[in-house]
């Protein structure tokens, strides 16, 4: 019995090897890689949109990872507005058609972009998501992103700490309903608020990821609520617009502003005392780890696992620490390590 089982086992393994071998053959001739591929590889890295320092940091991370491997080329391209979902679909499909070896991207819309991931999988082109995944998320597609819900629950704690036990009124500036990151930060923020009955949410207005709109809605919120105590703006343009409005109203430093991301003007706002705290993600690490994992997947066939790239709360008191500086000004020489888990 034992011998027979062994024989069947050996036969199965042999058969498997043959199938895998065939597979590898076909894929080599087809140019894409279902199995493993040696030699030069080309990876497309597509952010939600080009622009915003957040995505530039992810870009730096991706190129840095590629520079540390042999014969890896990163092709960076993106649409110009995060709202341009169909533009991103077209761009990704063009990359797929052009026969890239791997696709690293941040989904502008979770449901729509799932179709692109599906197409890539059927073409046997491996996919890794950064920052925003798809819905549903196929198990072979890992996500290198911030746990946005978890991170946003910390925001009301920060505001509460700042305002003290008497609490106060809070305005919320989300950026784009329907995107996963926006909705997760909203969810986390509202969850966190439940723990703080002393904080009262009085206004919710979207910045539409546009600085001028962020400025305008914050001005109007300040008009409607002259006694406002705190603002949470959930991404870079909203934070810059809100801080600008508060400054123009002569209330800089009097209104607690908690922001997200770390564009140079946001960081300057923290050092000038106009912004109380920033929830800073690690886009460099997203780009770096995603490309590294993609190369491993293509060359060695290792299935990569999803990863929370973590956040760091940056305030005036910790912003000059070397580790925080490495996060705020990431470069290939000093890659940021902070914010794990």
């Amino acid at each position: 019995m034992k011998q027979r089982a062994l024989a069947i086992g050996i036969a199965l393994v042999a058969l498997g090897a043959v199938i895998a071998g065939c597979g590898a053959e076909t894929h080599k001739s087809g140019g894409s890689s279902g199995g493993t591929k040696q030699g030069a590889i080309r990876i497309a890295v597509v952010p939600k949109a080009v622009g915003f320092s957040f995505w530039e940091d992810a870009h730096k991370g991706a190129t840095c990872a590629a520079s540390k491997q042999k014969d890896v080329k990163v092709q960076w391209d993106g649409v110009s507005a995060e709202t341009d979902v169909s533009g991103q679909v077209d761009l990704l499909q063009n990359f797929l058609t052009s026969g890239v070896d791997g696709l690293v991207y941040a989904a502008t819309d979770a449901k729509t972009l799932f179709n692109v991931t599906k197409q890539a999988i059927s073409k046997k082109t491996p996919v890794v998501n950064i920052d925003s995944g798809t819905n549903p998320q196929p198990k072979e597609v890992p996500v290198y992103a911030t746990d946005n819900v978890q991170a946003a629950t910390k925001v009301p704690d920060l505001i509460a700490k700042q305002l003290g036990p008497q609490g106060g009124t809070v305005a919320f500036i989300p950026f784009q309903a329907g995107t996963v990151t926006n909705d997760q930060r909203t969810q986390g923020f509202k969850q966190g608020l439940k723990k703080h009955p002393e904080l009262k949410l009085v206004a919710t207005q979207s910045s539409q990821s546009d600085v001028n709109t962020g400025l305008r809605v914050t001005q109007d919120i300040l008009t409607a609520h002259p006694d406002l105590n705190a603002i949470f703006a959930a991404n870079e343009p909203g934070v810059i617009g809100a801080a600008q409005a508060v400054k123009q109203a002569g209330k800089a430093g009097k209104i607690t502003i908690v922001g997200w991301d770390a564009a140079s003007d946001e960081v300057k706002g923290v050092s000038d005392g106009e912004i109380t705290a920033l929830v800073v993600q690690n886009p460099f690490r997203m780009g770096y780890d995603a490309v590294t994992a993609m190369v491993k997947r293509i060359r060695k066939g290792t299935e990569p696992a999803s990863e929370d790239t973590g956040v760091t709360i940056v305030t005036k008191s910790n912003m000059n620490e070397p580790a925080v500086q490495a996060l705020l000004r990431p470069s290939c020489q000093t890659p940021p390590t902070l914010g794990s888990g």
Binding site: A49, G51, E56, V202, G241
Partner: protein
Amino acid sequence: MTSPAKADGTAPGGGLAARLPAGVRERLTETVSQVAAGGALIVVFIYLSFASPEFLTSDNLFNVGAQTAVTAIIAMGMTLVIITAGIDLSVGAVAALAGVIGAKAMSELGIPVIPAIGLGVLTGAAAGVINGVLITWAGMAPFIATLGMMSVARGTLDISTNAVAVFGLPDDFQLLGQGEIGPVPIPVIVIAVVAVIGHIVLTRTKLGRYSYAIGSNPEAARLSGIPIRLYLTIVYTICGALAGLGGMIAASRVSSGQPNFGIGLELDVIAAAVIGGASLFGGQGTIVGTLIGAFLIALIRNGSVLLDINIFVQSVVIGVVIWLAVIWDRFRRRKLQAGAA
């Protein structure tokens, strides 16, 4: 008015309108549609005064004035273009390009504030010249020529900035968008200056008369010896220059050159002109009407935030207002024409 219309002005019979000279009759139709938009403006104004206690404060009203400056100023240039039966879809992208180039001139080249603002305006004017030449000498439809310019300007913008915002502008530059003379914000003063000049140009100069003539009947304008190509090029240049000025004000308001600024701005600008009685078929439109249109849109946006109304609802309301304005305009014109027949 030295228009040829005067000769056949006094048609016999009919209502009041028909007994008036044609020039006066045209003025009357325009005034009537302005009254429509003006009426809507007053209704919204009165409603908001009751609905929100903070609305009717000088701070808020000046705020609205400053918020609408960019749209209003560009819309006045657009009015001139629309009067000639043209359209300029590139204004949003050109405004962003001008803002970024002006910002870069200050932050990277150390050019002083005033020349840098001039450079931004010149950038817009240059784009306008190209639009004009493409339309008149290359014979392109305005829609196509300016659609191309929109893409070229966005592309140039992304190439020159790598799509990253330009920060580090001198403090003096903030005056343009954030400064005040007495209680009046400087952007509001800029609106007033542009409006007065624009009104004079439209009503008292050859450029204004020729623009109406070209828009009403290009063939007749050509036969009567108007140098159409030259005047159309001037019209698009003025529109471009005002887009450049608007872009500089937008940059000043947020103290940074934002590459993603102005996406969709052209639609707000066209809406302002159309609500104010400008006809896309040409020959109709006034500065006062356009200002009313711009302020109506701004009031709806301002009121929506004061009352904490969802952003999606705001878009629906603005769309409906555009419909109503055009329907009302049509209805009145038909009545006046029926009276004349």
